[in-house]
C-alpha cells in the first residue's frame, strides 16, 4: 500500500471516497464537527460541488459544508473497491 497524497476536501473529485486525516479548527468547532461525523478516521465523499458549499456524504449522513471550512479538512483518497470499510 503506497502512501496516498493528502489534499483538502475542496480538491477531492466528487464521487470518490476518502478518509479524513485532519480537521483544522478550534476545539469548539472540532467538537461540533465530530458530532456530525466529520473527524479523522471517518470516510467522506463529495456528492456535489457547485462552487458554493459542498454536499457531503459521511456514512449515512448528508451534510452541507461551507467552502471555507471544507478547505481546512484534509483527506486522503481510499481505494474505491474496499468501499464499506466501516
Amino acid at each position: 500500500m503506497s502512501p496516498k497524497a493528502v489534499l483538502p476536501l475542496t480538491m477531492l473529485p466528487p464521487g470518490r471516497p476518502a478518509r479524513i486525516v485532519e480537521v483544522r479548527a478550534g476545539r469548539h468547532l472540532k467538537d461540533r464537527l465530530a458530532g456530525l461525523g466529520l473527524l479523522p478516521g471517518n470516510t467522506v465523499q463529495v456528492l456535489r460541488d457547485n462552487g458554493g458549499p459542498l454536499l457531503l456524504a459521511v456514512g449515512e449522513t448528508r451534510l452541507a459544508l461551507g467552502r471555507g471550512m471544507a478547505h481546512k479538512i484534509l483527506v486522503t483518497e481510499t481505494a474505491p473497491q474496499g468501499e464499506s470499510t466501516r
Binding site: D31, R32, L36, L39, P53, L55, V58
Partner: protein, 735 residues
C-alpha cells in the same frame, strides 16, 4: 392503590432522529411548549397515563453530542445529570446508526437509567440494513427497542418498557465501563475515577463520568467535584498530574482523543450489530437531491416552491380572512353594541370598546388564517427535509450579505409576515448572523403592506399599478442587500467567521399530527404575544384620537396635534400633511391600519355609525351567516388551493368583486397627493418599521437595543429614500 406514581422521562437524541415524532406519539395533545429558564431554546413538556403511572416527558433539545459548548448541549447534559430523570429515552435514527450512536455513547457514560429506541426502523429496513437488536442490548447493557414513531409502531412497547424501568431501574442502568478508552486514556480515566471514588458526596454523579468530563475540561464537572468534601484536592493535585501525562502523549487535543475513542467505540458497536447490504441501493433521497441541488435547476426549483407557497398564503387564506372580518365587523360588533346599550353604557365607553378594542383585536384575528397557512407550509418544508436543501442552494447568494444559507429562509418568510420570520431566525446558530438577519427582515415587503400599494396604485398609476407594486418589492430586496452588505462590513464583522454546516436530513413525508402541532404552536404564540401588543396600542390610539374630551374633529385631537407636529419632517419627501403623518403613525402599529386611518381622517365618516337606537339583533340570521360564510370561505379556499397547485392554469375564474368603495378615498387622495408624492409615500411605507408586533418579536429574540436599532434603521432609510425619490423626481420635472 389509588395514588398514582409520577415518573419523569427525558427524551434525548439527534436533530432529525424523529424525537419530536416520538414525543407526539407518546403524549398526544397533552403537551406544553415554553422556554428553558433564561434561554431562547424551546422546552417541550408533556405527559401520559399508563397503568398506575403518570409519566411526564421532557423533550430535550436535539443535539449531535454533549460537549456542552452550545446552549442546547448544555441544557441536555445538565438536565440529565442534575435533574435526575427516572429514565432517559435515547431516540436513534436506525437508518443512520453510526452517527447517532455518538450521542448514545455519551449518554451511556452518564450512567442514568436508559432505553434506546431505534426509530425509523422502516426506512432502515427499506435500505436493507439489518440490526441485531439483541446483540445491541447486550453490548450496551440497556434495553433496545425498534419503532416507527410516525406510524405509532413500537410506541406501546416503549410505554411498557418505561413502566418496567420504573419498577426495575437496575436493568436499565448501563455498566460503568461499557465504553473503554485506549491505553493511556483509559489508565488516566481509571486513576481519576479511583481518586474521585474516595470522595464521600458526589450528589449521585458517577465517578467515571466525572473523570472523563474533568479531562475534557467541563465546567459542570469541576463545580461538582469542587463542592464535594476533599474534591478541591483532587482538582489541584491528581488532575494536573494526569493531564500533564496525557498531554505528553496526545498534545493539546486531549478532548479530541476522547472523541476519537468514543467514535472507535461507536464504529465497533456498529460493526457488531449492523449488517449492510452488499450493494447499497441509491436511495430515493439521494436521487431527489440530484435534481433539487443541481447547479442549474436548484434555484429555479426553489423559486417555484416559494411561488406556490406565496400563492397558498395569499389565496387560500384570503376567503377566511374575509370571513373573520365579516364576523367581527358584523355580529360581534352589533351584539356587543346591543349589550352595551342595554347596560346604558356611556357613548365614550361604547366607542372605546367598539372602535378601539374590537377593531384592534379584529385586526389581529384576521391575520390568523394567513399565518396558519404559512406556518403550515413552512412546517411541511421543514419536516419533509426540503428547507435544509433550500439553505444549501441559496448559500452562495447570501454570502454577498455576509450571511450564509441558513439566513435565507427567514428572509423569504418575511414576504408573508415579518413576525414569524423574526422567530424563524432561531435556526441560525451564529448570534451575529441571527441579529443581522433579523434587522434585514423588515425590508421584505410583508403582505400587510400590499393593500396600501394597491389603493395608491389604483388611484394614481392606473394600468402601471402592477409595475409600481412589483418595483416596490424589488426596492425592498435591493435595500436589504445594501444594508446587509454595509452592516456586515461595519457592525457585524464576526458574521464572516460563522461556519456553514448543516445536516440535510433524509426526505420524509410529514405526519399530519406533526404539521398541525407545529402550526398551532406558532400561531398561538403569535396570538398571545402580538395580540396583547396590538390590543394595547389600539386602545391607546383610540384615546389619542378622542382626547381632549369632546373633540369633534380628529385634527384637533392629541393624535391630530402630534401628527401636525410631525408633518414638517415629511415636507422634503413631499407628503408633509398631518393626515399623511397620522396614517404613518398608526401604520407603525400595523400596516393594515394605514388605509383605514386614512379613510377615517380624510373622509371623516367615522362618527354617526353607532348612535343611540339599538341595532336590530338577528341571532338566527347571524348564526346562519357565520356558518354559511365558513362554508363559502372553505369552498373558495379549495378552489384557490387547486389553482395554486396548478400554476399558470386558472381552474376557477375569479369574479372581480371589488366593491368600489375605494373611490371616495381615491378622490380624497388625489387632492392630497401628486403621483410623485404618492410614490415617495409608498417607498416610505415599504421601508419604515413594519409593525409593533415585529418590534416586539425583535426585542424578544435579540433584546430591546437591537429592536430599537431596527426601528431607527427603518425610519432613517425610509426617510432618506422617500426624500430622494421626491427630490429627484422634482428635478426631472415629474409630478
Amino acid at each position: 392503590m389509588t395514588a398514582s406514581r409520577r415518573l419523569r422521562v427525558a427524551l434525548a437524541g439527534n436533530p432529525n432522529a424523529g424525537k419530536s415524532t416520538v414525543f407526539n406519539a407518546l403524549t398526544g395533545a397533552h403537551q406544553h411548549v415554553g422556554n428553558w429558564p433564561g434561554k431562547t431554546v424551546e422546552k417541550k413538556e408533556g405527559f401520559y397515563r399508563y397503568r398506575d403511572l403518570v409519566v411526564e416527558i421532557v423533550d430535550l433539545p436535539g443535539t449531535y453530542s454533549l460537549s456542552a459548548y452550545s446552549p442546547e448541549e448544555r441544557i441536555a447534559q445538565e438536565f440529565i445529570t442534575e435533574e435526575h430523570p427516572d429514565v432517559v429515552v435515547n431516540v436513534v435514527d436506525a437508518s443512520n446508526l453510526e452517527r447517532n450512536l455518538y450521542l448514545t455513547a455519551q449518554l451511556l457514560e452518564i450512567g442514568a437509567p436508559m432505553i434506546i429506541v431505534l426509530n425509523m426502523a422502516d426506512v432502515a429496513e427499506q435500505l436493507g440494513y439489518k440490526i441485531d437488536v439483541g446483540r445491541f442490548a447486550q453490548l450496551v447493557g440497556v434495553p433496545v427497542l425498534t419503532a416507527v414513531a410516525s406510524k405509532e409502531i413500537g410506541i406501546e412497547a416503549l410505554r411498557e418498557q418505561i413502566h418496567h424501568a420504573a419498577e426495575a431501574p437496575e436493568f436499565h442502568t448501563p455498566p460503568p465501563d461499557v465504553l473503554q478508552y485506549d491505553h493511556e486514556l483509559e489508565k488516566a480515566v481509571r486513576h481519576l475515577t479511583e481518586a474521585l471514588g474516595t470522595l464521600s458526596d458526589l450528589q449521585g454523579y458517577r465517578p467515571r463520568w466525572l473523570a472523563v468530563k474533568l479531562i475534557e475540561g467541563d465546567k459542570q464537572a469541576r463545580r461538582v467535584v469542587r463542592n464535594a468534601p476533599g474534591g478541591e484536592a483532587v482538582l489541584t493535585t491528581v488532575l494536573p498530574k494526569v493531564m500533564r501525562k496525557l498531554q505528553r502523549v496526545y498534545g493539546e487535543d486531549v478532548d479530541i482523543a476522547l472523541a476519537d475513542a468514543r467514535y472507535a467505540f461507536v464504529r465497533g458497536l456498529a460493526r457488531q450489530v449492523l449488517t449492510l447490504p452488499k450493494h447499497p441501493p441509491r436511495t430515493l433521497s439521494d436521487r431527489i437531491d440530484q435534481i433539487v441541488t443541481n447547479r442549474w435547476l436548484g434555484i429555479p426549483l426553489f423559486l417555484f416552491f416559494m411561488y406556490v407557497m406565496f400563492s397558498l398564503v395569499q389565496n387560500v387564506s384570503a376567503p377566511f380572512m374575509d370571513w373573520i372580518d365579516s364576523i367581527i365587523s358584523g355580529p360581534v360588533t352589533t351584539w356587543t353594541l346591543a349589550g352595551l346599550l342595554a347596560l346604558h353604557a356611556p357613548p365614550w365607553l361604547i366607542s372605546l370598546i367598539v372602535d378601539g378594542a374590537i377593531a384592534g383585536v379584529g385586526s389581529v384575528l384576521t391575520f390568523i388564517p394567513s399565518l396558519m397557512v404559512m406556518f403550515f407550509a413552512l412546517a411541511f418544508m421543514e419536516d419533509s427535509g426540503y428547507l435544509a436543501r433550500a439553505a444549501f442552494v441559496m448559500d452562495k447568494a447570501m454570502a454577498f450579505l455576509g450571511l450564509n444559507g441558513r439566513a435565507f429562509i427567514p428572509m423569504i418568510l418575511g414576504f408573508g409576515c415579518n413576525v414569524p420570520a423574526v422567530y424563524a431566525t432561531r435556526t441560525i446558530e451564529n448570534r451575529a448572523a441571527r441579529v443581522l438577519t433579523g434587522l434585514l427582515i423588515p425590508f421584505m415587503s410583508c403582505s400587510a403592506r400590499l393593500p396600501v400599494y394597491v389603493v395608491f396604485g389604483m388611484a394614481f398609476f392606473g394600468k402601471d399599478a402592477g409595475l409600481v407594486v412589483w418595483s416596490l418589492y424589488l426596492v425592498g430586496i435591493v435595500v436589504a442587500a445594501i444594508a446587509g452588505w454595509v452592516l456586515s462590513k461595519v457592525v457585524f464583522t464576526e458574521v464572516h467567521k460563522s461556519v456553514f454546516v448543516l445536516e440535510l436530513p433524509r426526505y420524509r413525508l410529514p405526519t399530519w399530527q406533526g404539521l398541525w402541532l407545529h402550526t398551532w404552536e406558532h400561531t398561538s404564540e403569535f396570538i398571545r404575544k402580538a395580540g396583547t401588543v396590538i390590543l394595547g396600542i389600539a386602545i391607546l390610539l383610540w384615546f389619542l384620537l378622542n382626547l381632549p374630551w369632546g373633540v369633534q374633529n380628529p385634527g384637533e385631537s392629541y393624535f391630530g396635534k402630534v401628527s401636525h407636529a410631525l408633518a414638517p419632517i415629511y415636507e422634503p419627501a413631499g407628503f408633509g400633511t398631518w393626515q399623511a403623518a397620522g396614517a404613518l403613525i398608526s401604520g407603525f402599529v400595523a400596516k393594515e391600519v394605514v388605509i383605514s386611518t386614512m379613510s377615517q381622517i380624510y373622509i371623516g365618516e367615522q362618527e354617526a355609525k353607532h348612535l343611540q337606537e339599538p341595532p336590530v339583533l338577528q341571532p338566527w340570521e347571524d348564526a346562519k351567516a357565520i356558518v354559511v360564510g365558513f362554508g363559502e370561505a372553505t369552498w373558495k379556499a379549495t378552489q384557490a388551493l387547486l389553482d395554486s397547485l396548478t400554476p399558470g392554469i386558472r381552474l376557477f375564474p375569479t369574479a372581480s368583486g371589488d366593491e368600489g368603495n375605494q373611490t371616495e378615498l381615491s378622490r380624497a387622495l388625489h387632492k392630497a397627493f401628486t403621483p410623485l408624492s404618492a410614490l415617495a409615500f409608498l417607498v416610505y411605507v415599504l421601508l419604515y418599521t413594519p409593525c409593533m408586533a415585529t418590534v416586539a418579536a425583535q426585542a424578544q429574540e435579540y433584546g430591546w437595543q437591537w429592536a430599537l436599532f431596527s426601528v431607527g434603521l427603518g425610519l432613517t432609510t425610509a426617510w432618506l429614500l422617500a426624500t430622494a425619490v421626491f427630490q429627484v423626481g422634482r428635478l426631472l420635472g415629474v409630478g
